[in-house]
């Protein structure tokens, strides 16, 4: 998708003489954004005058940046914990569904897996989080709320990961399975040694995207009382009564992490596709 977009765009910029109508619209839109910023006083000296003072108030004074650091820790802890649960649950579910399709006699398990995926993909993660915390774990008093969040996000992501895995396995030519079966490997062995390794190579980029999405999804954890990165920004807002700076700082931190992860995926993709050209 991404490459397509850029190619199209490049073609539009280079193949035509002068600017196309699309570019004029884009330019108009840019001008309009500039006008919006201008009209909200963004370019006035007053807006920048006390930028440093407010920055100091928001992040430096009394080591307030530590609130963001603690929030980041909680966000990363929840994301990594949920990733592990998501991978495990997703793998189990996809194996059940693929095995059922492959002829294993597990109709009940398959039905269960299907229902699980339907329900967890069909409801918002935030609603699930609230249900986990206030309905299912209503009486769990001394349990750290972060563990409940990890469970909620992990099980939710498990449903998506299951679909990613299943897609990956089904993308492998059935001939591979037939060939390895005819060479005398059992169903399980040909799955393990022939199909899954190839499927994994196909799904790793999608898996990473799922986890990047989850990193951002954890920003609703504030609803059940977890001071994650987003909530830490809101806590600074309440402390200094400043609205935009803490939010923008939080956005920048998320963006930096996502950019880093995207970079890792790209490297991984290159590494996985070596010798495939």
């Amino acid at each position: 998708m991404r490459n397509n977009f850029f190619n199209k765009h490049d073609a539009c910029l280079t193949s035509r003489q002068g600017a196309g109508r699309g570019d004029i619209v884009l330019g108009l839109f840019g001008l309009f954004l500039l006008y919006l910023l201008y009209s909200s006083g963004f370019f006035t000296a007053a807006a920048w005058q006390d930028f440093n003072r407010r920055f100091y108030q928001n992040f430096i004074k009394d080591q307030r940046y530590m609130m963001l650091v603690d929030g980041l820790k909680a966000t990363l802890f929840m994301t990594s914990g949920a990733t592990l649960i998501g991978l495990t649950v997703g793998l189990i579910l996809s194996v059940i569904r693929v095995a059922y399709k492959g002829g294993a006699k597990i109709p009940l398990l398959n039905k269960l897996a299907n229902t699980y995926i339907t329900v967890l993909r069909g409801t918002p993660a935030m609603v699930q989080l609230l249900i986990w915390n206030f309905t299912i774990f209503a009486s769990a008093r001394n349990l750290n709320t972060q563990y409940i969040a990890i469970l909620a996000f992990g099980l939710n992501s498990g449903a998506y990961v299951a679909e990613i895995f299943r897609g990956g396995i089904e993308s492998i030519d059935p001939g591979q399975m037939e060939a390895s079966r005819s060479l005398g490997l059992s169903y399980g062995d040909s799955m393990r040694f022939v199909v899954l390794p190839q499927a994994l190579r196909n799904v790793i980029p999608m898996l990473f995207n799922e986890f990047i999405a989850m990193l951002k999804e954890t920003s609703v954890a504030g609803y059940i009382g977890i001071d994650d990165l987003t909530r830490a920004g809101q806590n600074i807002q309440a402390l200094t009564l400043e609205h935009s700076q803490p939010l923008i700082m939080v956005a920048i931190i998320y963006l930096v992490i996502v950019l880093f992860l995207t970079h890792v995926v790209r490297k991984l993709e290159e590494w996985l596709s070596r010798g495939r050209r």
Partner: protein
């Protein structure tokens, strides 16, 4: 196709400009004027109920509820709304620290804060009421309130350090889990990794009297009733007003402080 796109984009821009930068209407003179204006409140607070009463049938159209006061006041300053209905003390803090705001002279309602409990948790209500009466009688509650009003509405709000509050760590009687929404200075505020505020210090004193360790759970205000009814927290201490509606789902302690609901407006938009 492109022609259509361009046409509608330009149309959209013009329409947006016309809506977003419309001229200001007549200035607000009294609370009566608010009945036809866009108002905001924090979700689940008495401010929301008062705004709903003010607006009557128009409330779906004109009332916006925000998760945090900071968001509501930002919307006010950006002219998205014309008034925020909120508690007086937090409003005064905004007035002190943010330019261009004013508080309307008329008070919308007078009320009292109390601690909220799960319905039927009589044992804890009685124990807390007893402790509350004691700290009221020996003047320590008044001292706390005075200290915070001085710190937040006078100058030098940094004089209160969270380290000075004794959470009674390692108490033998177990824990007292208190739910709050720490964006409501001077009643509760998160500083670093701990909390300060009138409610927090009061709860610390109560916890000491009950020989329990104080644990603070920081949540959104509209999630607090849910948390106390499912036993996630033992009690709510978040500047919560006693209302008949809330009494149906919750038990309350005795009142500990009186408060007012006011309308926070832009200074340039208000004419006495």
């Amino acid at each position: 196709m492109k022609k259509f796109f361009a046409f509608f984009t330009v149309l959209f821009l013009f329409a947006f400009c016309a809506c977003a930068f419309a001229d200001e209407e007549a200035k607000l003179k009294s609370v009566n004027d608010l009945k036809t204006q866009k108002l905001a409140a924090q979700r689940g607070t008495t401010g929301q109920y008062i705004a709903e009463d003010l607006l009557g049938d128009n409330k779906n159209l004109l009332l916006t509820t925000y998760e945090k006061y900071v968001d509501a006041v930002a919307a006010l300053r950006q002219r998205k709304i014309r008034a925020v209905i909120m508690d007086e003390m937090p409003a005064r803090r905004f007035l002190n620290e943010v330019e261009g705001l004013a508080i309307m002279d008329e008070v919308l309602s007078e009320e009292s804060y109390a601690i909220g409990f799960r319905k039927g948790n009589t044992e804890l209500v009685e124990a807390v009421n007893k402790a509350l009466a004691e700290i009221k009688a020996d003047g320590s509650l008044d001292k706390i309130i005075g200290k915070y009003f001085e710190a937040f509405l006078g100058d030098g709000s940094s004089s209160i350090k969270p380290e000075d509050i004794d959470f009674n760590k390692g108490a033998k009687g177990g824990t007292l889990v208190v739910g709050t929404e720490a964006g409501f200075a001077p009643y509760e505020l998160k500083v670093g990794s701990s909390f300060i505020g009138i409610d927090i210090e009061m709860c610390a004193l109560i916890a000491k009297k009950l020989d329990k360790e104080l644990v603070i759970e920081n949540m959104n205000f509209d999630a607090l009733p849910m948390a106390v009814s499912t036993n996630k927290v033992d009690m709510i201490c978040a500047g919560m007003t006693v209302t008949e509606e809330r009494k149906e789902n919750m038990d309350f302690s005795d009142n500990y402080v009186n408060a007012k609901q006011i309308a926070l407006v832009r200074a340039g938009d208000y004419e006495k």
